[in-house]
């Protein structure tokens, strides 16, 4: 199978859906001739023109709010927010408007829109350009939240997100944009709300998402040489959540480690821990539930500090050994 990058996969998803459905359009800062801050949309304006690939002023509230207004009147906008940190500027439009319209209006509205935003640390951009704030969106009923970890998932999930009739927050992983992976030429989608077991194992379940999925897989492969058999469950969609896959995996292994880049306190990992503790899987736990997550600090600038503010392979490996001890 051919290999393309995560960024190319996202571009393909958008382009294919725009060809398929004339109501889909794309707007955001510097997405036109510039091709987007991370080059995701390079060339799209040439194919679709400035009406459907709309360069916006720096106006995050207007971008997200206009996406909601376009969506509720029958368009299918994709709004790119240059860094996910800036979604905060338009959070009223996302959380108070787009997310709630359907419910407030008694089910008579639908808001099919996607807010794409690069998230995560590792670029040296420090505290205001490096966050992983998925928990904020997961805490707002009416939003769906997606975090792909591979080019394959990114393409398939984005196509599903664009076709979904709800506001979807699509958190891309900055450090993954240049990572290549197999992506078929033919048409496919990945459904929202279905986790992917990236590696099966008997001894311990790691539930993770986003960039951490790759780190966990590498750790699992290393530990396999010692006979420690780790299962890696990549949630892919945080909302809706594939509870069944998580519960079944923990029932099988009896051990649960949750790994996410976002800060630990009030992170979505706590939700996963509570899900398992409140499920049939509780009776299969043979060790406490453990989280390896970002430290409760803003992302620092210094590279060593930055690397250590989020989970490292060493911390993950230590936690696995500890739980199985």
């Amino acid at each position: 199978m051919r290999e393309i990058t995560y960024a190319e996969a996202i571009r393909e998803a958008m382009s294919e859906e725009m060809r398929r459905d004339p109501s889909v359009f794309f707007m955001g800062e510097d997405i036109g001739v510039y091709g987007g801050a991370f080059g995701v949309s390079v060339g799209m304006i040439d194919e679709f023109g400035p009406e459907r690939v709309r360069d916006t002023p720096i106006s995050e509230a207007a971008i997200i709010g206009a996406a909601a207004g376009a969506a509720v009147t029958g368009s299918r906008p994709i709004a790119e927010i240059q860094f996910s940190d800036f979604v905060a500027i338009g959070l009223d439009q996302l959380g108070n408007q787009a997310a709630k319209m359907r419910y407030m209006f008694g089910g008579r509205a639908q808001v099919p829109m996607v807010v794409r935003a690069p998230a995560g640390s590792g670029t040296g951009a420090a505290a205001q350009h490096s966050q992983s704030q998925e928990a904020i969106y997961c805490h707002i009923p009416g939003l769906k939240v997606v975090t792909p970890s591979t080019p394959y998932d990114a393409k398939g999930l984005l196509k599903s997100a664009i076709r979904d009739n709800n506001p979807v927050v699509f958190l891309e992983q900055k450090l993954l944009y240049r990572v290549k992976g197999p992506v078929p030429e033919e048409e496919y989608t990945v459904p929202l709300g279905r986790a992917d077991v990236k590696r099966t194992g008997r001894d311990l379940t790691i539930v993770t998402w986003g960039r951490m999925a790759g780190m966990c897989l590498e750790t699992a492969v290393r530990l396999a040489e010692e006979g420690i058999d780790v299962e890696v469950v990549d949630l892919r969609s945080l909302v809706p959540l594939d509870k069944e896959t998580v519960v079944e995996s923990v029932k099988k292994t009896g051990h649960l480690l949750i790994v996410h880049e976002a800060v630990q306190s009030a992170g979505y990992g706590g939700e996963i821990a509570a899900l398992v503790a409140d499920s049939e899987a509780f009776f299969y736990l043979d060790a406490p539930i453990r989280r390896v997550a970002g430290l409760d600090v803003p992302i620092p600038y210094n590279p060593t500090l930055e690397r250590n503010a989020v989970p490292t392979p060493e911390r993950i490996e230590r936690a696995v050994r500890d739980l199985l001890g």
Partner: protein, 414 residues
């Protein structure tokens, strides 16, 4: 909210009890005070009454299981109410055994131990914080076995633990059982096997403990009980209570013990304990083995009162309605095999006591009296003593005094 049914603590020394059978099925209505199940302690079998009214919604522990006191064995709730399940308070209580700081175990270990019927207390924990892990519970797991093979094993009384399985993953299948049975010597095949539990288990433990830890000596003496038997026959014509030979012997024993307090002694650890009270244990054979109800202050009971009490206790022993407290506190035991025609035996001292008197059958003997042959009834008395604390001579003196009482039975009436 469901109310838990617990294994009651039915006597001061009771630590665990065995469920004989549930008298109600799950789903049956239950009225407070109604018998709910039968249990067996080391001393006695008894009924447990429901404390609340409702519906029996869950049975946590089944018949045959041995359970710590205060552990939850079932739940009574509203009709249709969901059972609290293995994760309910019952299970947590079970792990803690009702005691503060009970067994630490992971949820997985608790679940598996319950499935396997393994007591968590009996498992050696290997967790970092001293908790029982799944692997610890499973270390006690019985081998994987097909249901057909399990059935055959149970019928044939074969322990599957010793059989090597040839099925997938070492599972024991029918073929393995057939081979194992063929290897058994014909004479060694058991008729039936059942778990050693309840009173039988207790008897076994106590007998072995006595045998292993107490050097015992048995002294035999013969008493002419001709007058005693004649006296009994006359009394039974005259008074309402029915006086048995055993009652007379118990009465005589109590009187004799007043003058031979050395018999009322035992060793506890590094101490010699001299009992003050004369509490006579009276061994009674019942279906499930042997029970020994205790006649407290036997020396203070006149013969008719004593006779009434022994009749009541033996009756209740056979009806299984003795209370645990009827069975504790003995300081000397009398065991009687006379009714079976036994003429001499070696009783074994009850742990916690210093001596036991074995009573045999009265035999006819021809003796010469003034040169004439006379038929006399003579009985052998077999006294076993804990030789660590009671000397042979002390035992002999007691026997002497007892024989004296029995041969001059009016003294028994005083």
């Amino acid at each position: 909210m469901a109310t838990s049914v617990i294994m009651p603590k039915a006597g001061m020394a009771m630590e665990r009890g065995t469920i004989i059978r549930w008298l109600k099925k799950v789903g049956d209505p239950v009225i407070a005070g109604e018998p709910l199940l039968e249990i067996e302690t080391d001393k006695v079998a008894m009924e447990v009454e429901a404390e609340v009214s409702g519906t029996l919604i869950q049975v946590v522990r089944e018949a045959g299981e041995e359970v710590l006191v205060t552990e939850t064995i079932g739940f009574i709730g509203a009709e249709g109410e969901a059972a609290p399940g293995p994760g309910g308070s019952g299970q947590l209580e079970a792990g803690a055994g009702g005691r503060k700081g009970g067994v630490r175990a992971t949820p997985a270990a608790r679940r598996r131990a319950a499935e396997l019927g393994v007591a968590l207390e009996a498992v050696t924990p290997s967790g970092r914080s001293g908790e029982v892990k799944l692997r610890d519970a499973e270390a006690r797991r019985s081998p994987a076995i097909s249901s057909l093979a399990r059935k055959i094993a149970e019928q044939e009384g074969v322990d599957p633990a010793g059989i090597r399985g040839s099925g997938t993953g070492g599972r024991i299948v029918k073929r393995d059982l057939a081979e194992a049975l063929a290897r058994l010597p014909a004479s060694g095949r058991a008729l039936a096997r059942s778990p050693l539990s309840g009173p039988r288990k207790i008897i076994a433990e106590r007998m072995l403990r006595s045998h292993l830890s107490i050097p015992q000596v048995t002294l035999n003496a013969r008493a002419d009980v001709t007058s005693l038997l004649r006296l009994r026959a006359e009394m039974n014509r005259e008074i309402e209570e029915r006086i048995s030979v055993n009652d007379l012997i118990l009465r005589a024993t109590a009187i004799a013990l007043l003058g031979s307090r050395a018999m009322l002694a035992t060793i506890e650890g590094e101490e010699i304990v001299a009992y003050e009270e004369i509490n006579l244990g009276m061994a009674v054979a019942v279906d499930s083995g042997l029970v020994v109800p205790v006649i407290r202050g036997a020396d203070k009971l006149a013969l008719p009162a004593l006779a009434r009490l022994t009749a009541e206790l033996s009756g209740r022993a056979r009806e299984r309605t003795l209370k645990p407290d009827d069975l504790v506190g003995g300081t000397f035991t009398v065991t009687n095999l006379g009714m079976y025609g036994i003429t001499s035996f070696t009783p074994i001292v009850n742990p916690g006591e210093g001596a036991i008197l074995g009573v045999n059958a009265a035999e006819s003997e021809v003796r010469l009296e003034a040169g004439l042959p006379v038929e006399r009834k003579v009985m052998t008395l077999s006294l076993s003593i804990d030789h660590r604390v009671i000397d042979g001579a002390e035992g002999a003196r007691f026997l002497q005094s007892l024989v004296g009482l029995l041969e001059k039975p009016y003294r028994v009436l005083l």
